[in-house]
């Protein structure tokens, strides 16, 4: 157990079936000491107190210091909206009106923005627990940072102005290298490049436009002598191979990705895979037994335990009960004892909640349903919702829309009833049209117009 075990996995060594465990306690760390998400992301003393609690309660083999993909964008001039129980979200974009590249004089320094808060926590935790647990410094990936800077038009740029996309993501990759420098100097063992939006572009686009910036970041981290991880959220099943081609030491995926299939690919590259305890249905709303059973089922489903790490799928929701996370830790570290606790236990589900599905054909307007994990905190979900709100003035006479959130029980039940496997997904008149792909404005207007005209026999 502990750092040694995790580092063995990251070095691709044999651990004789023992698996490491990393609780991705971002703002959730604050809950353990009664602090808000904003408290722990802006106050190093509160963050340190909370991280001590994570270490004590969850017995991690590795743990992140913070999980905040907005820190870099804020330094570069984007405005954030803060929430008490979530990380902040980006609400204004530097280049949404006019394309641009930020000045390199804005590369991060130890004094930039909220970096001093993070560095202080890194230094203290390194000193206190750095030889017992591997510490993760999380940085925003080049694609997500580029989207924060440019806004939702970035997805249009991918199609219409790839040269600009290359320039902006190159800047963001260089920025990520500088962030890695700061966190490595503060003693981080692993630098995780977190890029939820990778799941929202096609593998071909990734290979053509994103391979170089991501590979440059992972090469750089390796040259600096520490380990790397590539975190992605959403349905990245089709992107796993192109992500592997950028050669991180490890990769983390959420519940949208089938671990068995993903591991078959990562094994070919000798890259460690981390995942993917369901964040909401199991960790947030499940019982302790659900969590134990979930982790055991996950471990049992994967034959090859080499290069495997057990973790939540992504940043844990603030309100995850601590006993659920502790149950996950127990199941990973002591699977035999945990197995005895859930003999004959069947997991709870959301089937009993009654859900009414709209009569789509009877509606006058086209009905857009946005099924999201969290429209504010999940970057992919934010940009999918924005793809509708940005053009809504142009389609409001033809369409209505609604946003569902996977942290509300009724919305979880609705997602299940619709048969959706991946979030975010945009359904139009009950049909899954955009699954983990963010449409650009022109494309969406054309789709809505076509459907509206069909409805009215035009």
């Amino acid at each position: 157990m502990g750092k040694e075990l995790l580092m063995k996995v990251l070095n691709h060594e044999d651990t004789k079936g023992q698996l490491p465990w990393i609780p991705f306690a971002g703002v959730h760390a604050g809950k353990l000491k009664g602090y808000s998400g904003r408290d722990v992301l802006t106050d190093s003393a509160k963050l340190i107190e909370s991280l001590r609690e994570v270490y004590k309660l969850y017995q991690p083999d590795g743990m992140p210091i913070t999980f905040d993909l907005q820190l870099e964008a804020e330094i570069l001039g984007c405005e954030l909206m803060w929430a008490d129980y979530n990380p902040p979200s980006v609400v204004s974009h530097l280049f949404d009106k006019e394309k641009g590249i930020p000045c390199k004089c804005k590369f991060p320094t130890p004094e930039s923005g909220r970096i001093p808060v993070v560095l202080e926590a890194m230094r203290v935790m390194k000193e206190e627990i750095g030889d017992k647990t591997a510490l993760y410094g999380l940085i925003c990936g080049p694609l997500t940072l580029a989207s924060h800077l440019r806004g939702s038009d970035f997805f249009k740029d991918i199609r219409k102005d790839p040269d600009y996309v290359v320039q902006l993501t190159s800047f963001c990759a260089e920025y990520a290298q500088k962030m890695a420098d700061l966190y490595i100097d503060a003693g981080m063992d692993v630098i995780a490049v977190v890029d939820p939006l990778v799941s929202q572009i096609s593998p071909k686009v990734f290979a053509n436009l994103m391979h170089e910036p991501f590979k440059a970041v992972f090469d750089y981290i390796r040259l600096k002598g520490v380990k790397s991880s590539f975190f992605v959220c959403g349905n990245a099943s089709y992107q796993i191979k192109v992500m592997c081609d950028t050669y991180p030491d490890s990769m983390a995926v959420d519940e949208n990705v089938d671990m068995v299939s993903a591991k078959a690919i990562t094994d070919q590259y000798n890259i460690a895979l981390s995942g993917n305890i369901p964040l909401t249905t199991t960790m947030l709303f499940g019982t302790q037994q659900d969590n134990i059973k979930g982790v055991l089922d996950l471990m049992d489903s994967i034959d090859n335990k080499h290069n495997l790490i057990i973790s939540p799928g992504c940043d844990m929701p603030y309100d995850v009960p601590l006993e659920n996370t502790a149950a996950c830790a127990l199941a990973v570290h002591h699977p035999d004892e945990a197995r005895a606790m859930v003999v004959d236990y069947s997991a709870s589900d959301f089937d009993q909640i009654e859900i009414e599905i709209p009569n789509y054909s009877g509606l006058d307007k086209v009905y857009i349903e946005l099924f999201t994990l969290d429209p504010e905190q999940c970057a992919a979900c934010t940009y999918m919702v924005k793809s509708v709100t940005d053009i809504f003035d142009e389609i409001k006479d033809m369409a209505d829309y609604i946003v569902y959130k996977y942290f509300i029980k009724e919305d979880i039940a609705r997602t299940a009833k619709m048969g959706l496997k991946n979030l975010p997904t945009m359904c139009i008149d009950g049909e899954s049209v955009y699954i983990s792909i963010i449409p650009d404005g022109d494309e969406l207007i054309a789709e809505i117009t076509k459907r509206y005209n069909a409805k009215h026999n035009k």
């Binding site: 000045c103 004089c105 290298q177 170089e212 002598g225």
Partner: protein, 305 residues
């Protein structure tokens, strides 16, 4: 009144060699020097260190770019106090001096002793010029803003190439005298006497913080061998505009200089501040991968980022 002379020219053309010759020639006169390096470490300042010369180093960008222009202005004002006979400024190889005369107008009210701008000497690499001339706007502007053009490395070019260079330079700059040399070996008095400010209109410099090429600093451990170092440099050089620095190999110090495929590793008789090499990328962020591969293939234990 201080005569102000600017040295421009792309990376690796021979500006520092020319500066050495200028400092040697004016050795008995009161002269000041400003050395501008694009990378974070000022290698050229080390090369030019000389007792009695007052030198100011401006690193990590072009002096004509807003990133360090403020420091350049302060340095010019400071260097106006001693009443030098000459102030020589060696610009970074990526510098675009289009706004030099604007800068001098800006500082005029603040200088202690006035400057007289004698003009800029643009040093060209005769062997590489035809290949590089359209590479970056800064290279073209160095030429159009020149008061004298010195085509260096004459020994490496044929008469036909020489004629072609002559024609290209004339296209860009109809007034500046053109001299062909090797190792910047030219009569300094003739060079300086024929120097005059360019009559080309002042322009905004194309040096901006946004378009700065990426630079990397590589640390070289004394355990490296010359063969390993050469292997690494040979591998990464095609991905760079310029590589330079000082290294310790075993017990000995060396200066390192690469321009395209030309590599020089020369014994360095003095102490060095650190065994480090600066690489200026010609391929943006992609140089990271080349450095990683170059290290892995040649010196995985002795060269670090």
């Amino acid at each position: 009144m201080t005569q102000l002379i600017l040295l421009t020219g792309f990376l690796g053309t021979g500006k520092t060699t020319l500066m050495e010759r200028l400092l040697h020639y004016y050795g008995d006169s009161p002269v000041g020097v400003i050395v501008n390096e694009f990378g974070e470490i000022n290698i050229d300042a080390r090369l030019l260190e000389k007792d009695g010369t007052i030198m100011r180093e401006l690193s990590n960008g072009s002096i004509f770019c807003s990133c360090i222009k403020e420091n350049f202005i302060k340095a010019l004002i400071d260097m106006s106090s001693p009443n030098f006979e000459y102030l020589f400024i060696e610009a970074s190889g990526l510098a675009d001096p289009g706004n030099m005369q604007q800068i001098l107008q800006t500082i005029e009210p603040y200088t202690v002793h006035p400057y007289h701008y004698s003009g800029s000497i643009c040093v060209l690499d005769g062997e590489a010029f035809l290949e590089l001339k359209d590479l970056l706007p800064a290279v073209g502007n160095q030429l159009t803003q020149a008061g004298v053009v010195l085509v260096n490395k004459e020994d490496l070019i044929s008469p036909a190439i020489k004629a072609e260079i002559q024609a290209e330079v004339r296209k860009a700059n109809i007034q500046a005298p053109i001299y062909f040399t090797s190792y910047c070996n030219i009569d300094i008095n003739t060079l300086v006497m024929n120097l005059q400010p360019s009559k080309s209109a002042s322009l905004d410099s194309t040096n901006t913080p946004e378009n700065r090429p990426q630079t990397f600093i590589i640390k070289v451990l004394p355990s490296v061998t010359i063969n390993e170092l050469q292997g690494f440099l040979n591998f990464v050089a095609p991905y760079t505009y310029r590589i330079k620095g000082f290294v310790t190999v075993g017990d000995s110090n060396y200066s390192v200089s690469c321009v395209r495929s030309h590599m020089m590793i020369m014994p360095w008789p003095r102490d060095i501040p650190a065994s480090e090499i600066v690489l200026i990328s010609a391929v943006g962020i992609g140089l990271t991968g080349a450095i990683a591969d170059g290290i892995n293939m040649n010196a995985p234990k002795s060269i670090k980022l």
